[in-house]
Symmetry: C2
Subunit: 233 residues, 2 copies
């Protein structure tokens, strides 16, 4: 193993869900020194932060920060406003469902960028996925590409870089199906029993089995032919 | 005056300094219903948050939110790390000085965007300025243009817009000198005695008179030929 001083640094956004746990394993496999960032944004499914802690602890080399930022101040989503119900999978007719949190990935990537600049990290990893996903605008490849450009224009490292972007935004799952993600993570030894995907998991992390996120996850395990370790309540 | 229901909504980033107070006055003059956003990011010059409160209170139609987000968790700037001294004006040989806060405007604009989406506001106003400024990469017009593109790609309103961007990022000061900003604000009745620009203002808001920000402000009042209401300690 290389000396830590020689490893390139990466920030990995870690929600505690299946996708970001897989991304962390991919970034570590690629040889980065990883700094995992979770945001306590007042999410209804607070159990995912406990999941993020468990996932990060499974990799002792990873430094993990949980930053508090109460997006309930703005409202506008079923995930931050308990007056808005989480719909069952397939129940919503909207192209962009009520579980969409306004500008969430823009906010999270901006925070990852701030930490990256302070650490002189060169990579930001995010587990967005545009195949088996919920129709959120900030999970699409065109958004990711545009954020990378903005990040390089708005930071010291980007401005001072001589050849190409100083910061790279990496979305290794963007074109993968949920089943492919689960297969990849399983090869890398990700323990999916540590993760929580449900939008309304209870405090123990037990999943509802009904929401869009539960539905995508369950179908993914079935399609991958891998036993689903999720505990449903 | 138009009915509030008919006014277009704008988010205005309000730091409590001279520039953002001027921007708020400009946005109000242009007829927007304004929502002012300040970030309590653990800044050394916390007196600017008091200034932001005073400025917002001067405009009773304005709703003001102060959001807590402790950027000290990341460090890397003289403004968030008290172990790094604020240099006197002209003292730093660096093109980008130590008072630069990593990715600050990216983070603040992302938060403004989140509030804008929740409120269905169409404009984000920010008081960046690329003339009499401190050399921060995230104050340049190319950064602002790129963020606007990213914002429209990463939000519901942007994706659903049929003709042109749904969200506009407005930086009305970007090409103005500090003296021009002060003249414009004075015409609009901005009370600059309410504002604090100093990077190390004391709790009463009294300015050091030595840092880069004090220097730019003082020179601006002199060049504008307008009496400087700043209290120096």
């Amino acid at each position: 193993m290389k000396d830590k001083q020689q490893l390139k640094k990466a920030i990995v956004l870690l929600s505690g869900g299946l996708d970001s746990a897989t991304v962390l394993a991919i970034a570590l496999e690629q040889g980065y020194q990883c700094f995992a960032l979770s945001i306590d944004y007042g999410q209804r499914h607070n159990a995912e932060l406990e999941a993020a802690r468990r996932v990060a602890r499974a990799y002792p080399s990873v430094e993990h920060k949980i930053l508090a930022l109460d997006l309930r101040a703005f409202g506008g989503s079923a995930l931050t406003d308990t007056d808005i119900d989480v719909p069952d999978a397939g129940e919503s007719a909207e192209a962009i469902p009520v579980t969409y949190v306004p500008a969430r990935n823009t906010v999270f990537l901006a925070l990852a960028l701030a930490w990256a600049e302070a650490l002189q990290a060169t990579e930001l990893f995010i587990g967005v996925n545009a195949v088996d996903y919920s129709g959120y605008p900030d999970c699409r490849p065109e958004f990711i590409e545009s954020f990378e450009k903005t990040a390089n224009l708005g930071t010291k490292a980007g401005v001072q870089a001589q050849d190409g972007p100083a910061l790279r935004l990496r979305a290794p799952l963007v074109s993968m199906s949920k089943a492919e993600i689960i297969k990849k993570g399983s090869e890398l030894g990700v323990d999916y029993s540590l993760t929580v995907s449900c939008y309304q998991a209870d405090t123990s992390g037990a999943a509802c089995g009904r929401c869009d996120s539960c539905h995508l996850r369950r179908q993914g395990f079935i399609a991958a032919g891998i036993a689903d370790p999720t505990i449903y309540r």
